[in-house]
Amino acid sequence: MKWTVGIDIGSVSTKAVLFNGEQVDSKIIPTGWSPSQAGQEVLERLLKPQGLTRDDISLLVGTGYGRIQQGMFDKTFSEITCHARGVHYLLPEACGLIDIGGQDSKVIGFGEKGKVEDFVLNDKCAAGTGRFLQVTAQTLGLEVSQLSALAEDADPADINSMCAVFAESEIIGLLAQGITVESIVAGLLKSIAKRISVMAGKIHFQDTVAFCGGVAQNQVLKDLLSQEIGCRLAVPPCPQAVGALGAAILGYEL
């Protein structure tokens, strides 16, 4: 049997998927300070339970920012190509995807077979990324995972700064005015949805769009995004590992 592995080394977490014509297993670990170590470790954790070794893998495909700094991969693809391929496999009805990653946000439009047609990435700053959420959550003494539940049913405060640093001072100002934490969190999520929808406006989405990345687990953000963009958003199973899956599929098809 032909086996391929896709490994997506992101800034926050490293994802791996084992593929043999269909997705067999996936693993996610924190990237930590050594992307190459994370790559090796996630591979081991993926193969061991299946009783496989590196020699059983016909192609090891790397993606994510960590793909460039090591000799471990047989082949690499950009995470843009991989995300599109992965989403197309999981949600064949989707015409594009939004991925809010740790370091950047991507909006990708693709055609038949998940081939990328156009894409927009955010600037080289934290605006509209997972990092923005993390920094602002910290200001409020919260974990990112708490944000969705808090924001539910809250009236969103008006937050204008998309710069993580300025947003922090804006939040402090709002707290001083007595605005509730719930409102501020809802406002933050709304501001991200607005920001991403501007990016999405550059790609002419028509139908279902996939929402990927760890942030896709945030239900409130998903609803807000869907409203702003005017499309149905679908979150694929295990939205963090879509890039790694795409890498494994691309390797399998080579």
Binding site: Y65, S78, I80, T81, D104, L121, K124
Partner: protein, 380 residues
């Protein structure tokens, strides 16, 4: 494979720095310029050496930011920083600077620079359909003529100017012959090497030697091609570069594209072929002919800039281009806005995708650029 003749062009700017000093010691006049709108034939006809001024490196930007706003185009900041820090020998040895009102940032920067060097600033009308555009340009050419005659104590004759125009036309034809070699696939010369040759043209003091070396390079590349050697792979996607000027020292984006396996076929920008595709008429009055040629350069500072759309349409077909990369310098509003229209134009009329890279001269965004470039090449 790389042509051996490239060694000459690798050394062109460093040796030009030495020659600028020698030219001054020999009592020659030197006129520095920044932009492809500068009618350099007029400088040569005034018996002076036309030389490009340093403008495309990160290094002097900190010095410039003591005076200029941080949120300004890096080209403008770098030009100013080079000039005032004394780190540009060409600026140092220039008697006069020939400048132009291409964009607001440069225009205002020149006001500050005028305290450091005598300068003449040509007024470039920003409406491409201004009724008396040609007349306006002719006036600017004569203004520059009068300024050179007075300040360099020379006379510029019709005959001399006509002669220089012929020489420069020959040089343009020769450079286009070189560029045209990249119609072949795989491309015989890399985009960064082509840049070195074209950019170096503004920094040389021995025109005959330069053209002789270009001829040598063409011959060598033809030989290499005959042997099946090229600068890219048969599988390489053919990329055309457009947008803001990309000079030596800021090849970052082009390097990333070539490292990722893309073949840069040519540059449609003022650091590329923008000023070379059209010749100066040898039939008309030479001053009117100069005005006509320079007024037609399809720069985004002109509105509407239909010439650029036409030129791009022609190039993507002639050079069989797979994708276009538009390099926009941060805070360059005209190129940044025009990028949208160019993208739509290429998609609609040629089904060719465009990737816009907005960047500056620092190396900080190299990884972000690599991701975009990798993805773009994968989708072609």
């Amino acid at each position: 494979m790389r042509a051996q003749t490239m060694a000459y062009f690798d050394q062109l700017i460093p040796s030009g720095m030495v020659m600028a000093k020698e030219a001054k010691e020999q009592g020659r006049n030197v006129v520095g310029y920044y932009c492809v709108f500068s009618p350099i034939e007029l400088i040569e006809a005034a018996g002076a050496v036309p030389v490009g001024l340093c403008a495309t490196k990160q290094e002097p930007i900190a010095e410039a930011e003591k005076v200029l706003p941080r949120n300004l185009c890096p080209l403008v900041k770098s030009s100013y920083g080079f000039a005032v820090s004394g780190k540009c020998p060409f600026f140092h040895f220039a008697d006069i600077v020939l400048a132009e009102t291409t964009c607001d940032g440069k225009k205002k920067m020149y006001e500050l620079l005028a305290e450091h060097k005598p300068m003449i600033v040509l007024d470039i009308p920003n409406s491409s359909n201004l009724e008396d555009r040609q007349a306006h340009w002719v006036k600017q050419i004569y203004r520059a003529k009068d300024y050179f005659e007075k300040n360099l104590d020379v006379k510029i004759s019709n005959e001399k100017l006509a002669e220089v125009i012929r020489t420069y036309n020959e040089e343009r034809k020769l450079l286009m012959e070189l560029v045209s070699l990249n119609k072949l696939h795989p491309t015989p010369i890399s985009g960064t090497d082509l840049l070195k040759v074209l950019w170096g043209r503004s920094f040389q003091f021995k025109r005959d030697e330069y053209t002789a070396k270009v001829k040598e390079l063409i011959a060598e590349l033809k030989e290499m091609t005959a042997k099946g050697e090229g600068a890219s792979q048969p599988s390489s996607k053919r990329i055309l570069i457009t947008g803001c000027p990309t000079g030596t020292g800021q090849e970052k984006v082009m390097q990333v594209i070539e490292e990722a396996g893309g073949a840069i076929v040519l540059q449609e920008s003022c650091s590329g072929i923008k000023g070379l595709v059209d010749l100066v008429s040898e039939e008309m009055d030479p001053f009117e002919a100069l005005a006509e040629k320079y007024s037609k350069i399809p720069c985004s500072c002109s509105s509407p800039n239909t010439g650029r759309f036409k030129l791009l349409s022609r190039l993507v077909q002639e050079y069989n281009v797979d994708g276009v990369v538009d390099i926009t310098l941060q805070a360059c509003h005209t190129y940044n806005i025009e990028s949208y229209s160019i993208k739509e134009h290429l998609k609609k009329n040629h089904n060719i995708p465009l990737l816009q890279i907005e960047t500056d001269y620092s190396d900080a965004d190299r990884q972000q650029i690599k991701l975009r470039v990798d993805a773009f090449l994968e989708m072609l």
